[in-house]
């Protein structure tokens, strides 16, 4: 596992050409710069260094909502300011106790403000969230920063700084303290990036429906990310008061600064947290170094901001050109799409089973496999008179079906028949107007999708809902529940059975469609569902992939005994898997029965196969 950086990306190249050096070079460079700065920076630039650390910490805090949730918070400066003023308010008397109390209260304030700002993301996303966070920024600026008793007014408040003379001067000591705090939090974030909790948050941010389908409660993951971001920004706020000896004036926490701070992780490419530090150093130190040249700070900040954004967004192109200039022979490979990893192809070809040959021949698997159910009693999925309406359109109209433990039910029908809506309604992704959905004794209808998943309704989607920034294994592990060791072991076993064992660490964005499909299936199966709903599991796949998936699914179902509800068009697949076939048209069930019975029916042949009766 390697966190959600993409070694195939430009930053991967920057960080070592996608080699094993990648994760080492940039962090080593950052730490090296920090240490060199501590040892060699002249006295008057140490303050700039400390300010860069403050900015970097804020950038690090913003990295999380940006990279994990794909949200653009524009209120970091205000939250940092809030923290700075609260810290100074309680800590201005000096002494360990007031300072500690001040830090604690300031961090609580920052985490609370960030989390409350994050609540907006539960309601609106994208640009609306960005605007909403801007309102939070303006609110704190206009309301909180206007309270003179908090900010200290024009006189300000003083914050105790260490006193030191000689080479280890006060500024050098402050730089050292700030640097150590920054390193501690960077290490913490680096560790968290590699934990399952963060994979879940990434899945919520990148594929909210995929996350709900594996039982993740989206709002807790989101608020957790915003709380951690608030903590980092809050620490930076306290540090800003400490570094300056007094909280900076409110204008230093204005909306422009919020935008500058958010551009730090954006300019870093959002892949590598160490790169955020490099960008922060450039952003803060260049203006201070050039201060004597009387360049307007806005011009300087604007120029650096625009350059950084253009560089971050065009880095792939720029690096490609650079590499082709340095080595013309490489030009051909730079623009070539990555081929499927060889191991995947080999696995697909070698992974055939007996069931595969059943499917290939159009025969149903043997009844021995059907009966080999585990002793554990599993509940039956019962859908009765289900109606789903979208406005005036009835997409599902009075459908009833049941999926017993170990049973395989296939729903077929033309496009627009209501098949996917049926699966969406069962799994909680489409509203139910009438009817009941029960899993054993539990009424699923009033439950949200993530709770249905936790109760055992596993599902996959027509287009796999996987997070591109995670590897195959990280995507699989992002689901809800299970003890760490057990889950990892089961994930390993399932990945092997679906032929993904050797490529589990591959970024899923670099894999072909069939691999993404299989990874999503593994993720659904990892939660040990009671009933698995799969929506067109083999569309867009090669024949050998179809037979491989079919074989693996049948074998697993025989071992574990979950019920299976499949939507599929592929007649060969249906023939290989279905015990019962349900035919839908215009939202209604128009027939059901065994495969042969259904496909011998004239009406079904007309609707499903488009045949004209003689």
């Amino acid at each position: 596992m390697r966190g959600f950086a993409r070694p195939d990306s430009a930053v991967g190249l920057l960080a070592g050409g996608g080699t094993a050096l990648g994760p080492v070079v940039v962090p080593a460079l950052v730490v090296g710069l920090g240490v060199v700065g501590f040892g060699l920076l002249p006295e008057h630039l140490l303050y700039a260094g400390s300010t860069a650390i403050v900015a970097g910490l804020i950038g690090l805090g913003l990295y999380l909502p940006l990279a994990v949730l794909r949200e653009l918070p524009l209120n970091a400066a205000a939250i940092a300011g809030l923290s700075a003023y609260v810290f100074a308010f309680y800590g201005s008397d000096g002494g360990i106790v007031p300072n500690t109390f001040g830090v604690v209260v300031a961090l609580i304030a920052a985490v609370t403000a960030s989390t409350l700002g994050g609540v907006f993301s539960l309601v609106v996303t994208g640009l609306y969230f960005a605007v909403a966070s801007l309102v939070v920024q303006v609110g704190i600026e206009k309301v909180v920063f206007s309270i003179g008793s908090l900010t200290g007014g024009n006189a300000g408040r003083s914050v105790a700084q260490p006193y030191a003379t000689g080479w280890l001067s006060t500024q050098r000591l402050i730089y050292l303290i700030a640097g150590m705090i920054a390193m501690a939090f960077t290490g913490l974030l680096w560790y968290m990036k590699r934990q399952r909790t963060m994979f879940r948050a990434v899945l919520v941010g990148w594929q909210p429906e995929g996350a709900a389908a594996v039982g993740l409660r989206g709002w807790t993951q989101k608020l957790l990310v915003f709380a951690i971001a608030g903590l980092l920004v809050g620490v930076a706020g306290c540090l800003s008061s400490f570094v300056n000896g007094t909280p900076p004036p409110p204008i230093a926490f204005g909306v422009i600064w919020s935008v500058i701070y958010v551009s730090l992780p954006i300019a870093s490419g959002l892949k590598n947290i160490a790169t955020v530090w490099l960008v922060a150093a450039v952003f803060v130190i260049i203006p201070i170094v050039l201060e004597s040249h009387s360049i307007d700070p806005n011009v300087l900040s604007g120029t650096i901001l625009l350059t950084a954004i253009v560089a971050s967004q065009s880095r792939d192109r720029l690096l490609g050109r650079l590499r082709s200039l340095l080595d013309p022979g490489i030009a051909d490979t730079v623009d070539t799409a990555a081929p499927a990893p060889r191991a995947l192809v080999d696995h697909s070809l070698n992974g055939r089973s007996d069931a595969l040959s059943c499917a290939a021949s159009g025969n149903r698997p043997s009844s021995d496999v059907d009966r080999a159910l585990p002793a554990t009693a599993r509940p039956t999925l019962e859908v009765t008179d289900l109606v789903v309406r979208f406005g005036g359109i009835t997409a599902v109209d009075g459908v009833s079906l049941s999926v017993k433990p170990g049973q395989r039910v296939c729903v077929i029908g033309a496009n627009g028949a209501g098949k996917s809506t049926l699966v969406n309604a069962i799994s909680g992704f489409a509203p139910t107007a009438e009817g009941t959905i029960r899993l054993g004794d539990t009424d699923l209808a009033p439950l949200p999708s993530f709770q249905r998943a936790r109760l055992g309704i596993g599902r996959t989607f027509q287009l796999p809902r996987v997070a591109d920034v995670l590897s195959i294994e990280e995507n699989v592990l992002a689901g809800h529940g299970g003890r760490r060791g057990e889950v990892t072991a089961r994930a390993g076993s399932l990945l092997e059975r679906f032929g993904l064992g050797d490529v589990r660490s591959t970024p899923i964005a670099a894999t072909p469609f069939g691999v993404r499909r299989k990874a999503e299936l593994v993720r659904a199966l990892l939660a040990e569902p009671q009933v698995l709903l799969i929506d067109e599991p083999v569309s867009g796949l090669e024949d050998h992939e179809v037979t491989e998936i079919l074989g693996t699914l049948l074998a697993l179902q025989a071992e574990e005994g979950w019920g299976l509800l499949v939507i599929e068009h592929d007649q060969q697949f249906i023939a290989g898997i279905a015990e019962e076939v349900i035919v839908m048209e215009n939202g209604r069930v128009i027939g059901s029965g065994g495969f042969e019975d259904v496909f011998d029916d004239d009406v079904v042949r007309r609707i499903y196969l488009g045949e004209i009766p003689a």
Binding site: L72, T125, A130, V259, N298, G302, L306
Partner: protein, 293 residues
């Protein structure tokens, strides 16, 4: 009651200022799905050119207004051209880019303006009259009329002209418009240029009432953004209504509660209303809200 009426009157004029800026934001958003925070910088440049031509050079007011709007239009067009080069970028990042442009323009304005604060003369003159216990400046009336005129012109152009038809086609489906021969790039640049002109006009109209302050213009832009969001970010008339509603609410809350509450708290209700408004608009326009940043 009198205080309330007076606050409503003031609020309408305040809302008119937001409206001019909001119209430009709506225009660039509709054509490119970008919230163009460069409007603040463009407004500052437009206002600075107007101030320099009227107060320093002593030129005719009409010429100064035209020059301020013309330069703003050119900057808007340049920004539109840059936007065309960023079509593959996430929209939120383009938004940050536009704010970088604002920083650059603020830097130019800081060099052009004197160290002391300045307030340009009104293009409509300095007279006024009493209405509903409120002194109404001709400048405020002129601002309101200019805003309504610009809105009518924008709506008419969009709905009644061939160019408007092309622009609507691009709004709806850029690729589709290109396949039927609409010169997409030209119209995108044109709409951004128009938005720049509106920002310049906003700067010229805002600064005589307050001060020529870049930071103040940034706050006006944010308020205008909220007004545009209240209108769903898609509609000129709704943005107009959104600006007026926001201006009136701010003015009424300030007028009724101003002085009774502690510093800052008088802004609390306005900020809360802005937040609720953004949430309401976001829920109402979920399809837009899912445009990832």
């Amino acid at each position: 009651m009198e205080v309330f009426v007076s606050a409503v009157v003031i609020g309408i004029f305040q809302g008119a200022i937001y409206d001019v800026m909001a119209l430009g934001l709506v225009a660039s958003y509709r054509i490119s799905r970008v919230i163009n925070l460069g409007q603040a910088g463009i407004a500052a440049v437009g206002a600075t050119i107007y101030w320099w031509m009227t107060s320093v050079w002593g030129g005719p007011t009409v010429l100064a207004v035209c020059a301020g709007i013309a330069v703003s239009t050119l900057i808007g067009a340049a920004l539109g051209y840059a936007n065309l080069k960023m079509v593959e970028w996430p929209r939120g990042i383009v938004m940050i880019f536009t704010l970088g442009v604002t920083l650059l323009l603020f830097g130019w304005v800081a060099r052009a303006l004197p160290p002391t604060t300045v307030s340009p003369i009104s293009p409509f003159g300095g007279s006024g009259f009493d209405f509903a216990l409120t002194y109404v400046a001709v400048h405020q009336i002129g601002t309101l009329i200019a805003t309504v005129a610009v809105t009518i012109a924008a709506v008419w152009t969009l709905s009644r002209t061939r160019a408007g038809l092309f622009v609507r086609a691009i709004y709806d489906n850029q690729d589709g418009a290109a396949t039927v021969g609409v010169p997409v790039d030209m119209f995108v640049i044109g709409v951004w240029a128009m938005a720049g002109g509106m920002a310049g006009l906003a700067g010229i109209l805002v600064s005589p009432r307050t001060l020529l302050s870049p930071v103040l213009l940034l706050f006006v832009t944010i308020s205008a953004l909220v007004a545009a969001v209240l209108g769903g970010l898609e509609s000129f008339p709704l943005a107009l209504v959104g600006g007026l509603v926001l201006g009136v609410i701010q003015s009424v809350l300030g007028g009724v509660f101003g002085g009774q509450l502690g510093p800052g708290l008088e802004n609390l209700a306005t900020v809360l209303l802005m937040g609720v408004g953004v949430l309401w608009a976001g829920i109402k326009n979920r399809d837009l809200a899912h445009i990832q940043t």
